[in-house]
Amino acid sequence: MSETGVIHDIGYQRYTGPRLGRGAAINALYVQGLRAAFGLGRSAKAKIFPWLVAAITLLVAVIIAAVKSQIPDFDFGYVDFDDTLSWLIIFFVAILSPALVSRDIRSGTLPLYFSRPLRAADYVIAKFLAMVTAVWLLLGVPQFIMFLGAAFTTKKGMSGVWNEVQDLVPGWTYSLLWALLFTSIGLLVASLTGKQAFAAGGIVAVFLMTTPVVGVLSVLPSSAANHMAGLASPMTLISGVGAWALGSDIGLDLGRYGPIYGIEAFCLIAACLLLLLARYRKVAAL
């Protein structure tokens, strides 16, 4: 006889459903990281900063799009947009890569991850891609708004739209380069400490400390030193790569050293990723 309103203890149920592999776990970790970067699934306090940054970038994009539609000669490209907002992006990376990485170190959650099928490399890849996507969205979406503004107000018909697309794609590529380099440096610094404030300070310091070096090198009485001055700081390094590969004007004369900028950017990203991997290999052994 069963009565209504009585809760029956159905006991322990074994799980017979599907068990997905490591790929699904990496994907879940990636999505969680991307959401966390924008404060989704976290406290209201954690949402303030990323959405403030997003609002500023969007606002800037809307203003630029509006100005461009009124003044056709206004020359402000997609690449310039990235360069202008670089400090904002640095702060975004400095606040959010510790939230993605240092938090797990601080609360000691890593042994729970690494006692599951997930490997150190999987963890690093998922977090890295999440952060790269977050930074790229932060730049790419406003760039897309600028594109929409330009495409709808163009007076040259389809060819005008096509011209804008040809400008937008290098702009997006350039944003991806920013995202890759800033994320690798940010995550590497953040993975070294469990304290989010230290990590954030460390990341900003990397960018702050290297900027004066560029200034000093660029006024030395040697043209080679002047041309290669940008190599000293991640920010000017990316600008240099942009100038070399995309032909943008950054007010920094590279001379014939353009390829060196490209090589250094690639090596820097690869080195950061390898160090990050080595760091987590060590952590994964508990």
Binding site: G11, Y12, Q13, R14, Y15, G17, P18, R19, L20, G21, R22, A24, A25, A28, L29, Q32, G41, R42, S43, A46, R103, D104, S107, G108, T109, P111, L112, Y113, F114, S115, R116, P117, L118, A284, A285, L286
Partner: protein
């Protein structure tokens, strides 16, 4: 079938520190106590079983799988509860356990359902949407247990599950572990440095010291042959001892007590006869179960 089988398992860390030496055990399903002092090699043994570190010698098999080469298969069937604090303070228990369920390869909805179930089984159903930072130590231990349980493992490895709990919390945690081992059909390895605590809930015990196996056996066989009768009389203890010895009972003295091995029920009657014949006042006659700890102390002294 053995769930854990090791052959001459050895782990030497760089710098010549030997954490495990020549450990050979085979463990049947059930609740298994892994006891040893701090630094005895318990955590190293667990890490090897999880495939986190490779043994330097010998072999280990979990469910007849090699944790070194078949890591994913082993980890999918094993749940691990670490000793240290491992919970982020700013998420809810439900969200955290769900996330770790997905890390174990459960699809999204299944992970959510299993997380609720696991939290219900550890007794945190009502509080599961609260942030973990506001939990008591006892509740945090339960969340740690729930995350180990979420992907329905066949074996749970619990590292010091009663750490930091008050006596009532310890009792509740031990009862829960016993329930998981008996009702859920999940084998459990309970690591502890407190023998008295785990011996009550375990089917078998593995005792290690300094990385070496001290003893591994079923609790029942450890205590079976060791039941004794304790006899206490007001005075005339010596006379009684002599009388019992005459009757062919091997008596040992333990302070005011006389200890007589209980080989059959007739021993009761024979002792009572002896006491009444000598007209002594019997204070106490009871069966005494050897605590497992005593077995280890005698074994240890024998080694020395």
């Amino acid at each position: 079938m053995n769930i854990i089988a090791t052959q001459a398992l050895t782990k030497t860390y760089g710098g010549g520190v030997t954490a495990l030496a020549d450990l050979t055990v085979s463990v049947e399903p059930g609740v298994i106590g892994l006891v040893g002092a701090n630094g005895a090699g318990k955590s190293t043994f667990i890490k090897i079983m999880l495939g986190l570190i490779a043994p330097s010698g010998g072999s280990v098999r979990i469910f007849d799988l090699d944790p070194v080469t078949q890591t994913d298969k082993v980890r999918a069937r094993v749940g691990y509860m670490p000793e240290n604090d491992c919970l982020p303070p700013d998420v809810s228990a439900a969200e955290f356990v769900t996330h770790l369920g997905r890390m174990s390869g459960l699809p999204r909805t299944a992970a959510r359902e299993r997380a609720s179930e696991a939290l219900r089984h550890v007794g945190l159903y009502e509080e599961r949407y609260r942030q973990i930072g506001g939990y008591s130590t006892g509740m945090k231990q339960r969340v740690k247990l729930a995350q180990a349980l979420v992907h329905d493992p066949d074996l749970l490895l619990l590292d010091e599950p009663t750490n930091g709990l008050d006596p009532a919390g310890r009792e509740a945690m031990l009862a829960l572990i016993h329930r998981i081992g008996t009702e859920f059909g999940i084998s459990v390895v309970v690591c502890s440095h407190l023998l008295g605590e785990v011996e009550r809930i375990c089917d078998s015990l593995i005792a290690i010291q300094g990385g070496r196996l001290l003893r591994a056996d079923r609790i029942s066989s450890m205590t079976a042959a060791s039941d004794v009768l304790a006899v206490e009389v007001s005075e005339g203890t010596d006379e009684l001892a002599a009388r019992l010895a005459e009757m062919g009972l091997p008596v040992t003295r333990d302070g005011r007590l006389l200890l007589v091995p209980l080989d059959s029920d007739a021993a009761y009657d024979r002792i009572l006869h002896a006491v009444t014949a000598l007209e002594l006042n019997l204070h106490r006659l009871d069966q005494r179960r050897h605590r497992v700890a005593e077995l280890f102390t005698t074994k240890e002294t024998a080694d020395v």
